[in-house]
């Protein structure tokens, strides 16, 4: 069984980003970059399936500029077997990302795709669902538990009111939520070993995908700022302020 995981290069989750002063984008110069946290969870889940003897091969795919190789190397150090870097300097919208993944899924005859539910930069939450539509496969989004059962996959999903469990035929697309697992750290020997694992370099054009989008970003602006209010000295003062000043209780 073959499994594909996506690893997106994003700004480190602990960094508070700043908008460029001309509102043209986010200032990422010298920002620390990392694997998107949800993609990390996807890699971990794939490794656990492999350790359980269910998977034979894990392929880690990243789409973006050449330095996305770093994130593929991290996935390889964690336990993925090989990588594919789809190189492009352009900004690629989710639908095109899904088309690139579809092309790889078809070519590599993938049985299970595990992706993060969203990336913490664009916050779109789209690619997994779009890929499922393009492939005609079932989808288990926002997964908090995944179990393979007699050639099918049972996925528990975090939904607004609680949890929902669905049983999907394979091949299937799963997207990860936060509590699916707790990702491991790569060990030094594994980081060294990962240097010898292969990474294929391709372009969207090689995969037959033309990058285009119906969406254009006109500007990126800072959000309205909230200013800190006042400190109250006691619970009594707090309740008084809420009653007489804010008039909210």
């Amino acid at each position: 069984m073959k499994i594909l995981v996506g690893v997106k290069r994003v700004v480190d989750a602990n960094i508070k980003v700043r908008v460029k002063s001309d509102n043209s984008g986010i200032d990422l110069a010298n920002a620390k970059m990392a694997i998107n946290p949800f993609c990390e969870i996807a890699v971990e889940e794939a490794i656990r399936l492999k350790e359980a003897g269910i998977e034979d091969e894990i392929i880690a795919v990243s789409i973006g500029p050449g330095n996305c190789q770093e994130q593929i190397r991290t996935a390889l150090a964690l336990g993925a077997d090989r990588g594919i870097l789809v190189e492009s300097e352009e900004h690629i919208e989710p639908l095109s990302v899904a088309k690139i993944f579809k092309s790889i899924v078809d070519k590599e005859q993938i049985d299970l795709v595990i992706l993060g539910k969203l990336s913490i930069d664009t916050d779109n939450n789209q690619v997994g669902q779009m890929l499922a539509a393009l492939c005609g496969y079932p989808q288990g989004t926002f997964a908090c538990n995944v179990e393979l059962k007699d050639g099918k996959i049972e996925v528990s999903r975090e939904i607004d009111g609680g949890e929902q469990t669905v049983l999907l035929d394979l091949p299937a697309i799963v997207t990860t939520d936060l509590r699916l697992n707790e990702p491991r750290y790569a060990s030094l020997p594994n980081i060294m070993k990962a240097k010898n694992k292969p990474i294929d370099h391709v372009t969207p054009a090689d995969l037959g995908v033309a990058i285009n989008s119906g969406l254009k970003t006109l500007s990126i602006a800072p959000p309205a700022q909230r200013t800190a209010g006042i400190k109250v000295k006691s619970v009594a003062e707090l309740v008084d302020k809420l009653r007489t000043e804010a008039k909210i209780i």
Partner: protein
């Protein structure tokens, strides 16, 4: 061309998120029609027909839509939706699950989580956990959009739309519903509550949430939590407020023992009034709080309960 709004419901009642979504639709030019896909969902359709500003409710009432699985609902929405200029759904877990699948079937982009309509093709949406606001313009013939419900008010129930059934069904067995565990609570729903009392890692354990519950009871409030409190197992997943949990904007948000990580702030900073109770006066939550109280929550909460 008209706008299609996908109703959020549980086959019995129409969820308030549908009303916020209709309000967003009203800011786009065009007639508004609502799609109700479910099983034995006539009550929902009747309610939807009364939303002010809508002209028609299309009802797809069939066993195949009972659990609103994306594999069943997306082909329906894509088929009906190709005759509309816009397809809107609330950015709830249901909308987020179904709508990108619809967009891909229609070969168009999706615009996620809009908070503002600038024109029929230009929208504002938060990115980077709300640390930046992107203005995006769509040239697609059909604009597929999820709506951040907290950014739009609820449409009123004074309308009188017509109800029209559709016999379109989707037969698929690649995805089968197994079970659902829904949290049962007497309290208001987190996303539509006017007051929320939220606890973080500072609560120390799940049992201590009783202190929050007592305050919430006095205020008629919903209970929320930070990711740290959920990860630590104090409370269930669906309590989580934040970038990856629920986005809320109540009239009053009381954050107790929550330090205020950017991911948490992303989920609540649009609340009208924010109160923070934390023993660490350097906690970032105080930077967004209208009223901050530096105190031990185990003293402050019982006192607050008494004072209310």
């Amino acid at each position: 061309m008209a706008i299609l709004v996908i109703a959020e419901h549980d086959n019995e009642s129409l969820k308030p998120a549908s009303l916020n979504t209709v309000t967003a639709a009203k800011e786009i030019e065009g007639e508004i029609e609502v799609l109700v896909a479910g099983k034995d969902c006539q009550n929902v359709a009747d309610k939807a027909a009364r939303i002010a500003g809508i002209t028609k409710v299309i009802v797809a009432d069939d066993a195949c839509y009972e659990y609103q699985l994306a594999e069943s609902v997306a082909p329906l929405v894509a088929d009906i939706g190709k005759n509309y200029s816009h397809i809107l759904a609330a950015a709830t877990t249901t909308g987020k699950n179904i709508l990108p699948r619809v967009a891909a079937l229609l070969d168009v982009a999706q615009i996620s989580d809009i908070v503002e309509v600038l024109s029929s093709d230009t929208f504002v949406r938060p990115i980077y956990a709300g640390n930046a606001m992107a203005t995006v313009q769509s040239s697609d013939l059909i604009k597929v959009i999820t709506v951040r419900t907290t950014a739009f008010s609820e449409a009123e129930a004074t309308g009188n739309g017509i109800i029209e059934p559709t016999s379109f069904t989707v037969q698929q067995d690649s995805s089968i519903f197994v079970s659902e565990q829904l949290s049962k609570s007497e309290r208001p729903e987190l996303t539509s509550a006017s007051i929320i009392v939220s606890g973080g890692r500072g609560m120390q354990n799940g049992e201590n949430f009783i202190l929050l519950e007592k305050v919430a009871d006095k205020l008629g409030a919903a209970i929320g939590a930070s990711r740290a409190a959920v990860d630590a197992g104090f409370v269930p997943n669906d309590y989580q407020v934040g970038q990856t949990g629920k986005i809320v904007a109540p009239d009053l948000y009381i954050a107790v023992g929550i330090s205020g990580a950017i991911q948490h702030l992303a989920g609540m900073k649009d609340s009208k009034v924010i109160v923070a109770i934390n023993k660490d006066e350097e906690a970032p939550i105080f930077q967004v709080a209208d009223y901050g109280l530096v105190a031990n929550l185990f003293d402050a909460l019982p006192e607050l309960e008494q004072a209310l």
